[in-house]
Symmetry: D2
Subunit: 426 residues, 4 copies
């Protein structure tokens, strides 16, 4: 049955959507798809279930141990948790107002999909059960935490996988050891304290992958370009200026804000790139330039800023305009809306499952209480704020150029990769 | 300058073309692109040049040692050797009559390309020099053999890389040791005999990768579907039946057999897949079905055949037709035109560079003379001939089906994955 | 109970005996002990049993499937199969007439050992049962082949382990895949044909490890020195010339050819080395020189010879004598008595279990029938014959030396690492 | 010349001394010797020198760049930095008052050694120069820091090596990246800030290796036993009760506190173990029992204690005595004298070289200023205090035993692996 799910067209489509979006422009090995990740999450979940069933099988209702009847729903949720992702997810969603979690639920529960058909063969309410695991409303917390918690099959797979494909070794940790010390309990999943260091290493690895890979400024810069490109295309469409011989057929429902699941399923990275190739020949200079920059990897440059230097940004945008760029399309601040800054910070508004360690006398102790390293990064905002601008602004003033004085002014605002406070007049 | 070449749009486009084509449908991790491979070949070549310059620098003309003036041409040829590859190369070439080697030369030498522009900055005749290395007409055999011979930077990179991404470990060998025993000589490149076992292991690994990965029947089956799909589209186009709302704009020059390098450079895997998505909604049943099969990975099945059983094929095609399939599109024999069967066979017609080992007294000895393993696979045809057909033909006769008797007849021709000689009448 | 066996002193002693003997003098990472190997064989066997019990549990007597009652005897035999190994096994055995297989049986069955005590707790005849598996007389061929056959847990562990610690990658193969296609049948163990390439790769890896690691001339040279050293010590002892302040207490029973299991268990690599350190201060020049050569890694040199050139050896020995060395102690031909030359050759005298592959229709096919690579090395003698001599014999004649003319004569017999036929007179 | 140093008997002897001492009793793969580590440190140092010479060659005196005349002294110091280590270094030193750093200097500078002879061939004062690098008095801080600083070739090698052989993956970090960002400057060695995360990962890895491997309670327990065993032997010797047939010949100079370098060089792990084997047959019950425990891996148990619970220890020792053990030999607190607790704490008394990062404008910034993870563990005491006692004290009171009430009392002082404050009377 898992094989039947893999063979659906909704799932096969994940082969054509890269897991890390624009990150492969920085880490060129990272060209793996959401397909391989999804299969990996399934496999880790299967191992967890096997382990639970072998060592902690439930004997009676509510004994807090593992009930193997939950296996199928857990495995399906693991396999399908990302089924609703579209191409370049976060940016696409931002521009077109889609939401991959809602689409996931719709793909699972809409009778029109092949996935739904396979799930319905188990039981009429099975699609909704699987969806509720992904929505975290499923009653059994063990199943929910297996798929989504601070240390779940999803994260463990993507850290190891992304680490493998990027060729960094920050993401490595001892998966086998973690699986061995994992155990079910009444409120979800816990880890025997003898595996504390393996869990600690996983948290540290995750922190390092964010710092080094997921927050990489070049990948984010490519995402900024993509954002501006789609924004421009939408603007042109809405103003009837997207006048090509061959319209972006498969994207039209999204421009028109009137799309079905069927329309959504037809999208993938290649479809978007195909339209970008067409747009790179557009008479609209901004559209064609942004499309070329995205396709041919011409990233913007960026500098970090802080609360006290953010006030420099309007002035810098002015200079970018003065140098001949439409600042609305050629500058950006990365507001990081889609980056998990607060992953390990149990904020008040959002209930986060703590990582609890199981001690020999049966009591639990929260991870950061025993790990100095984890304590150091708990609840801390992590990442950076960046201002993006065309690399041309960094042209050396020694080169003869019409805009040399503007470039020079611009550069006086930067030092060691940061915006600085520049009070002097120009 | 290497960086400038990488930043050209012709080279960046390789990010959107998978190295192994349809093989990722079998080995799902193998989603890496020709971009990463090309960079890898460059890097190995760089290490070879470093090694040669450190240990075997030429002192006088014709001393058979390494002249470091050759470094730049070697590095450029290494980086650009695959620049002319299009999407799903072999199949596409077969249908549309393109040739990636010719395109490579054209991209290098046509003044219209960014690559040419970068190369020309070195010297006016530099693009042609680089091209001649790839065409094997460059006078210095050391440079040519570095890039293309039986043991070159190209093959060493793709074996290790494909092995890494497919997750098999057949392709591994000791690259470092091979690089250490490599040395230039008058007629090209040789290897000190102390590294014989490393070279032997490379040959055996290559043999095993072909057997296990490159010849995998499922990948070949997907290639068969792709072939039939493009063939059908071409047929419909030529008969004015490819009547869609949005024509396959970027493919039209190829249907019309009138394309420029510019047209070629616009193609990539995603462009083809995008048209396949459109074709999967075509009113032509064969086109839409083949497109769906390709996109959603519904491979054909296959069986091996030999010279004595190939005569069964017409009968089997008849049965496939009788079961309702257009046999011209739903069967195939894999004539392996694109598979390197004779890689290690020094055929008469084609001059192949032998692997020569350097002995302590200065004489050379050919590899298969000292390696029993290599001798065993030297000059031997390797691979298999397969007949492909719809998996439905294998439907168990126990299922109630209109075509059950036909399926049963069909299946009587197969045993343990082979066609068998079936003399009895039906 | 496995833990109890590991905690016996007979088993702990294996920590002090290196798996590869003198090979660590060539591959300096290969310092691992027989202890880690034994635990590894146990672990692979455990995985095989788990797999067999999960997928092929016996339903009725004689159905050829796996009876899980056999698990304990299989695990114990796996863990203890090398328990009788002493320090520098092969050489020690050769000089002192011990036999590690006999000692293994004795350690298992003698009531004096801790191992026997643990085993007896299972059943009075359990020690003998375990011993019979190692002696290959146990009635169930599945259990016997798991531990010793052409592809058993022992070999799979040592290839992977030796490969890891020597840092070569010749020994790697896909253990997981092999375990997955392994299955029990009436006459032992077979492998599904879909895993043919994994099994082939294991055979090729084994062949390569022998060529590259186990037969390495420097390791064999160190073994030759060890052989001569023990021979000299024995000679001196027998002639009452081993007259030290502190006699080699723990070795005396072996010199006197009157030892118990108890005596044997007290030996390890360190004990022998300790006496070698003492002997390196001996007044007997040959003893002290050989001891120093062994401790401080001063290998002999060697050259290969063939049937037609072996007749040169007496002359060469004469020259070694003329140069001042006692040829009885400073030359040797390696007669390879302890090297598994015929491992894959089903000789008539010795019954060897073929590797059989399981086909879909239930029939078996022998491996070399379907693998060209395996066929190439089946039944073939593999290895080399070498003549060992002091490296001083290779002193360049340009150095002023009393023996220069002798060295020169000697060297005229060698070329490219081989003895050559030298008919001319001196 | 490096080869000549490796071929000295002082260096070859390192093959017979395990790098991690008793740790292989916990991590059974960790059987590698100081020989392989020393060669590894040499190799990393060689790569650093190559990199420095290629990218930062000194042009004029005092330009703070790399002067390649320093290469040889750096390489020799790297290779020989551990040459003075004896068997089970820390414990042996503690009992016999030896000091491996002093011995290292003596081996380098004493005319009696082979190492000195090889070094003297370079220049008469070369041995002293090499020694001064190891003693950190050499004038060039780049050379000193290469071999010993907070991030040096020594530590980088042992972390990666110990990680490899223990099979943990805590010790892994990106050596290549660190080597690439390393650069010389006036006051030593710095790292470009772009490699900050690689350096951070190295520090975190080091922290984790200490927590997980080097401080492992079982290894420390084996060290406690070794300590008590040597202490007992010394006591017996000093009281003329070490009356065996064969005295521990090679150890006598140390018992008599009258040893030469020559005597020291004769020791290795095997020599000590050989005497332990003899002592395990001693009539002295304590000596023979401790020797057996050490040889056959019967560790003591332990519990952690804190400043507030250390006052329980005398009472616990009393109970151990009451149960029939000589508490002077069968209990211990681990005072961690040999554990690097303050490695990353720049204490006042000891000048520690900070890790400085090089920024684009040429200024340096100390690592913990930019790394949250490193800041969290900077200057912090790390490790634990443990009380060791015979495992028999944990015998369950359910077993019938003469000492059951004593065991029970003892166990009331322990909880979750810690000593607890137990005020109630017994």
């Amino acid at each position: 049955m898992i094989l039947d799910l893999i063979n659906t067209r909704e799932f096969q489509r994940l082969r054509r959507i890269r897991q890390l979006g624009t990150a492969s422009s920085t880490f060129h090995g990272a060209e793996h798809s959401r397909f391989t990740h999804s299969v990996g999450v399934y496999e880790i979940t299967r191992q967890i279930c096997d382990n639970f069933q072998r060592n902690y099988p439930s004997q009676s209702t509510d004994d807090g141990l593992w009930n193997d009847d939950e296996r199928l729903v857990a495995l399906c949720a693991a396999l399908l948790h990302d089924i609703g992702h579209g191409p370049y997810s976060h940016t696409f969603e931002h521009i077109f107002g889609t939401n991959h979690e809602n689409v996931t639920v719709e793909i699972l529960t809409s009778p029109a999909t092949e996935v739904n058909k396979v799930l319905r063969e188990v039981a009429p309410d099975f699609p909704e059960k699987v969806a509720s695991v992904i929505q975290k409303t499923y009653p059994n917390p063990q199943v929910v935490q297996m798929i989504s918690s601070q240390i779940d099959a999803d994260r463990m797979d993507y850290l190891l996988r992304d680490s493998y494909y990027t060729g960094t070794n920050y993401g490595t940790f001892d998966l086998r050891r973690i699986l061995r010390v994992m155990r079910p309990y009444k409120n979800g999943i816990t880890f025997h304290i003898s595996g504390m260091h393996a869990v600690e290493d996983y948290i540290v690895s995750r922190f390092q992958m964010y710092q080094q890979v997921y927050f990489h400024p070049v990948s984010r810069s490519m995402e900024v370009i993509l954002n501006r490109l789609l924004q421009r295309a939408k603007f042109l469409f809405e103003n009837n200026q997207l006048t090509e011989e061959t319209p972006p057929h498969l994207l039209l429902p999204f421009f028109e804000n009137n799309f079905s699941v069927e329309d959504y399923i037809r999208l993938d990275d290649g479809v978007l790139n195909t339209y970008f190739i067409q747009w790179s020949m557009s008479p609209d200079k901004i559209l064609s330039d942004l499309a070329s920059r995205f396709l041919n990897r011409k990233p913007l440059k960026s500098a970090r800023f802080s609360a006290t230097t953010s006030n420099q940004i309007p002035k810098l945008c002015e200079l970018v305009s003065a140098a001949g760029y439409n600042a609305a399309y050629y500058t950006a601040t990365n507001d990081s809306f889609d980056l998990p800054y607060d992953v390990y910070a149990p904020s008040q508004s959002k209930k986060i499952t703590q990582i609890e360690l199981y001690q020999d006398d049966g009591t639990l102790i929260e991870l950061s209480k025993v790990s100095k390293l984890v304590a150091a990064i708990t609840g801390e905002f992590s990442g950076d704020e960046r201002f993006f601008f065309p690399r041309e602004m960094l042209t050396s003033s020694r080169e003869i150029d019409l805009f040399a004085p503007i470039y020079e002014q611009f550069q006086r605002h930067l030092k060691n990769g940061w915006l600085i406070d520049k009070k002097t007049d120009y």
